[in-house]
């Protein structure tokens, strides 16, 4: 783990220095510099006030999406990578967070800043409910019970709550987050249908409606949640998680209330999912049940495996790699492979080739990682750091 690696020539004299995340001025400068650079990206895009076009605007939306998924996968990392439990329902928990925050905004006019924590807390509560089987079952059987969460939650949003959530049709008109004194206008919905509730329009001095504006909510929150996960890992709660993952019997006999901490892990995992879902809702201004299905839950698991479960950086690596693959590499190579396939197998329908190739290549990459690097990219990253640690001298 990264705790074992320190810059050469740095000798700690206090425990405070030993446990610090940034040990040297260089590391401090790098962290701060990266954050500032990240904060500058929309400013130097076409959306910025300077009129520069250095950074492609459509990448801002891509970064937002990557950041949102990173939050969801970091939640899984806390549950799976640290606490050793399993969940096949992360997408459904994101749906709970997304729909809760959106409905709070649409029907009750609750501002985003309140809707977000409420949605996170509610999703956390639902997570605890579905974590209860962890008292009795482990491994494969726990996986099956979380699979139930995926189907039950999505069914519940789809059918019994159809009047609120629009069922299989998209839920739109999610009011953008605003800052400052906000004007609310209650309007009747122009749409005729099962939805007879009112619609609250919001306007304020600062409105976060475009991707570049949402960026300033999503990215800092993502950075904060990544740091929070890192801090949880290195304090009492995180060590309880690790103890349960590595030896739940020893953990119980050495004073850790195993069930209580398993539930905390499910709670945390769902809170992260809830926040990710809420950000997704307000980023897209609409929600559709089809973006929270089982295949999404499984892709999030795949992202965690590819990135490296149990490493703080794992989710960032995993989501970035899979999304880059999906957005950039596959569209680039799809025409070539498509032409080849049409030549090789003339009877194959090539209309949906790109999406089919996405699934195929994602599956292939996951399989390759499971076979050749089951501990993920983050593990490679640690090895790389260790090899650099030896220059010029290895110390501890």
């Amino acid at each position: 783990m990264s705790e074992a690696i320190r810059p050469a020539g740095v000798f700690d004299t206090r425990y405070e220095e030993d446990i610090a995340l940034n040990r040297t001025r260089g590391e401090h400068a790098t962290s701060l510099g990266s954050f500032l650079l990240l904060m500058c990206l929309p400013l130097i895009s076409a959306a910025g006030p300077l009129g520069l076009n250095w950074f492609p605007l459509h990448w801002i939306g891509t970064i937002n999406h990557i950041a949102i998924l990173t939050i969801a996968v970091q939640g899984l990392n806390l549950l799976i990578g640290y606490c050793g439990q399993i969940s096949f329902g992360q997408a459904a928990f994101m749906a709970v967070g997304g729909y809760t925050s959106a409905l709070l905004g649409i029907h009750w006019g609750i501002p985003f800043w309140l809707a977000l924590p409420l949605a996170a807390a509610f999703t956390g509560f639902i997570g605890i409910l579905f974590g209860l089987p962890a008292l009795r079952v482990k491994g494969f059987y726990l996986a099956m019970s979380t699979l139930a969460a995926q189907f039950i939650l999505i069914w519940f949003i789809h059918f019994p709550l159809e009047g609120l959530t629009n069922g299989s049709r998209a839920l739109t008109r999610i009011p953008p987050p605003t800052l400052g004194p906000t004007i609310r206008e209650v309007q009747a919905l122009p749409v005729v249908g099962p939805q007879n509730l009112q619609f609250v329009a919001q306007r304020g001095p600062i409105t976060f409606s475009s991707a570049a504006e949402m960026y300033y909510i999503i990215v800092p929150l993502t950075v904060f949640l990544m740091l929070a996960a890192r801090n949880i890992r290195r304090t009492r709660t995180g060590r309880a998680f690790i103890s349960i993952r590595d030896n739940d019997l020893a953990a119980e006999l050495l004073g850790i209330n195993v069930f209580y901490y398993k539930l905390q892990a499910f709670f945390l995992c769902s809170v992260y999912a809830g926040i990710a879902g809420a950000l997704m809702a307000y980023h897209q201004n609409s929600l559709s049940i089809t973006s929270f299905m089982l295949d999404h839950s499984i892709i999030y698991l795949a992202m965690l495996v590819i990135g490296g479960a149990g490493f703080p950086l794992g989710p960032i690596f995993g989501v970035t790699i899979v999304q880059t693959l999906t957005i950039i590499i596959i569209p680039a190579i799809a025409p070539g492979i498509g032409a080849f396939l049409r030549w090789l197998l003339p009877f194959v329908q090539s209309a949906n080739l790109s999406s089919a190739l996405t699934l195929l290549l994602r599956g292939g990459i996951l399989l390759a990682f499971l076979l050749f690097e089951p501990r993920g990219v983050a593990h490679r990253w640690e090895i790389l750091k260790i090899s650099w640690k030896l220059r010029p001298f290895s110390h501890e």
Binding site: Y15, R239, I242, R245, D246, N247, E252, L253, L254
Partner: protein, 258 residues
């Protein structure tokens, strides 16, 4: 060894798994501050006894009194809070964590930070980390583990892992330390080191030690009193010299001379 000073009293406990009688009417006292060894042939019920004291097994009959209170219904994780700590026969460390993390994890019951304060890592959680790190470093120093402080324990040698496990048990600041075969599978040097540590723990920290061990020479040297189990029953109890002469013990270990 008066009744009043007993730290732990095992009162007629019986434990069975289906048809197998693991423990049968076993009673004995552990006096505060002594080193008591439990010996017996394989399958005699020694580990079952320790697991019962720990709360991992629930004896069907009998009581376990700790500091005069019946702890039969206390769940395992709360028995650790009472001051009962242990090591395991087959090392049960947190394999993918560092030595420091393993030891700090055992400070759990002495720490108070929670999800929220830990996530923010501001004043209180940070101060707590540093304070407990300091107490862990005393143990690392005492057990001579400085070079492996930040090693992943899964990569350590067998003898070292046994030592980390002892360190983890000590990090709990126990009153009663249960050691399940702390020297199994070690070479002579490692055994001597371990015996030295056990005696030092006993003398310097006044921790009561309940020890299971197969190495008779060592048991006779280290322990003040010995209890012998055979087929789940207590067959002898006494000072090491008396146990060596006890005909029931000789018969259990060597068989009857017909």
């Amino acid at each position: 060894m008066g009744e009043t000073t007993a730290l732990l009293s095992i009162d007629q406990i019986s434990l069975n798994f289906g048809g197998i009688q693991a423990l049968q009417d076993v009673s004995f006292d552990v006096a505060a501050g002594e080193i008591l060894a439990i010996i017996g042939p394989n399958g005699a019920g020694k580990t079952s006894l320790i697991n019962s004291i720990n709360g991992f097994y629930r004896p069907q009959q009998g009581r376990i009194l700790y500091e005069g209170y019946d702890i039969s219904d206390v769940p395992p994780y709360q028995r650790a809070r009472l001051g009962i700590s242990r090591t395991f026969q087959n090392i049960a460390l947190y394999t993918n964590a560092t030595t420091l993390d393993n030891l700090l994890a055992a400070r759990h019951i002495h720490m108070s930070s929670n999800l929220w304060s830990g996530a923010l890592f501001l004043g209180p959680a940070k101060r707590e980390e540093i304070a407990h790190r300091r107490s862990i470093e005393h143990i690392i120093d005492f057990l001579e583990m400085e070079p492996i402080r930040k090693s992943i324990v899964g990569n350590l040698s067998y003898g070292m892992r046994k030592r980390v496990e002892l360190g983890r048990a000590l990090a709990l600041e126990p009153t009663l330390l249960l050691l399940d075969e702390p020297m199994a599978g070690m070479n002579a040097e490692e055994k001597e080191d371990m015996a030295r540590f056990i005696l030092a723990i006993h003398q310097l920290q006044q921790i009561t030690i309940l020890l299971i061990e197969h190495d008779m020479g060592l048991v006779m040297d280290v322990s003040q009193r010995i209890i012998v189990l055979n087929f789940g029953q207590k067959i002898a109890e006494g000072a090491p010299a008396a146990i060596q002469q006890n005909p029931a013990v000789i018969q259990a270990y060597l068989g009857r001379a017909d």
